[in-house]
Symmetry: C2
């Protein structure tokens, strides 16, 4: 039933575009305009394919967004995973802040955070998008809490400071960073924000 060798050419006319290239184009559009702000016309233009090709290859707009979000997390949010490997909570925070800063400093990618852009403003019919983004964010937050729990157990935290509180605080700064980046802040200003956040980072 299942095809064992997927390298053999499938039966019909071969697809004339590259799936990954097209998905990268879709990601750019969603990133620039958010889920609802991205129109099929702009998507197909940037993906350099026609609408029927898009629907055949990706399903529909929502399914395309999910795949673009997968790509985004895999390629652009990878630093979030690596950041957790740092030896101290402070180093984890610095990795996260500098990772976010570096991403917002890219000259070829859109500004702001795809997740925030696509979930912060949505009309009623885009609630599923908001829910999906919230679900993924929750798993990132849970991972950071677990890492901070380790740090707390290692005696890194001042008294009274809880892991979830610190996670929430750090996420807020990162979210603010992406907001400010999206509304025209310069790299120098964002760097200033990171430096300030690190300069006040709690020590025991």
């Amino acid at each position: 039933m299942n095809r064992l060798c997927t390298l053999t050419a499938p039966k019909g006319r071969p697809r004339e575009f590259d799936l990954d290239d097209a998905l990268a184009g879709a990601l750019r559009v969603f990133w620039r305009n958010g889920y609802e702000g991205a129109s099929m016309a702009e998507l197909t233009a940037e993906m350099k394919i026609t609408k029927p090709s898009l629907y055949a290859a990706f399903g529909n707009k929502e399914a395309l967004f999910h795949k673009a979000l997968d790509l985004y997390e895999r390629e652009k949010l990878a630093y979030m995973t690596y950041a957790l490997d740092a030896p101290t909570a402070r180093a984890v925070a610095e990795n996260l802040l500098r990772g976010a800063l570096q991403m917002q400093s890219s000259t070829c990618d859109p500004k702001g955070c795809l997740s925030v852009i696509s979930s912060v403003a949505c009309s009623p019919e885009a609630e599923p998008i908001k829910a999906e983004v919230a679900k993924r964010r929750a798993s990132s937050q849970a991972a950071l809490i677990r890492r901070f729990d380790e740090a707390k157990a290692a005696g890194e935290f001042p008294e009274g400071l809880e892991s979830d509180a610190l996670m929430r605080y750090l996420f807020a700064i990162m979210q603010g960073l992406t907001i400010q980046s999206g509304s025209g802040a310069t790299c120098a200003e964002l760097n200033q924000l990171v430096e300030t956040a690190m300069s006040v980072w709690p020590t025991k």
Copy 2:
């Protein structure tokens, strides 16, 4: 030329709805859905007027948004002005954070920040909206920088900390707070965020 007494009834058929009530309804819709996510159908439904009445009274969708934004800043962001009267930079920051927290704790208003919601995600044709929000935010930020300059001159700041850096940092936390509020954080969690931010607030 100009009518000196505006209290006399104007000539034609009197308007059957209250301008302020209608505008308050529009604000609710823009606040829930953002500028682009708010449709004329939802606006007229919430404002309890018909489309021609809306256009006669407010101009068009963009002009209506501007008036709603005025109302929002006047009624919901008033705490930002009062906050600057506090005696120290730390008290200013606490006023701002607690003001934002209190606003997000309202059970009758939508969650999140209208300005962020309406400017963070917009398709190309909504760029003027983004620019207008950016302009207003810049004036708020300038006011906070001036206030922090006073505090710095009064010797409240640790060495090397600049007013604009601290402003940017504080705004980031407030923006993160509204993002988290809009994506389902509880009042307790937001309060935890404020407490954490205040607990790390820089002292000399």
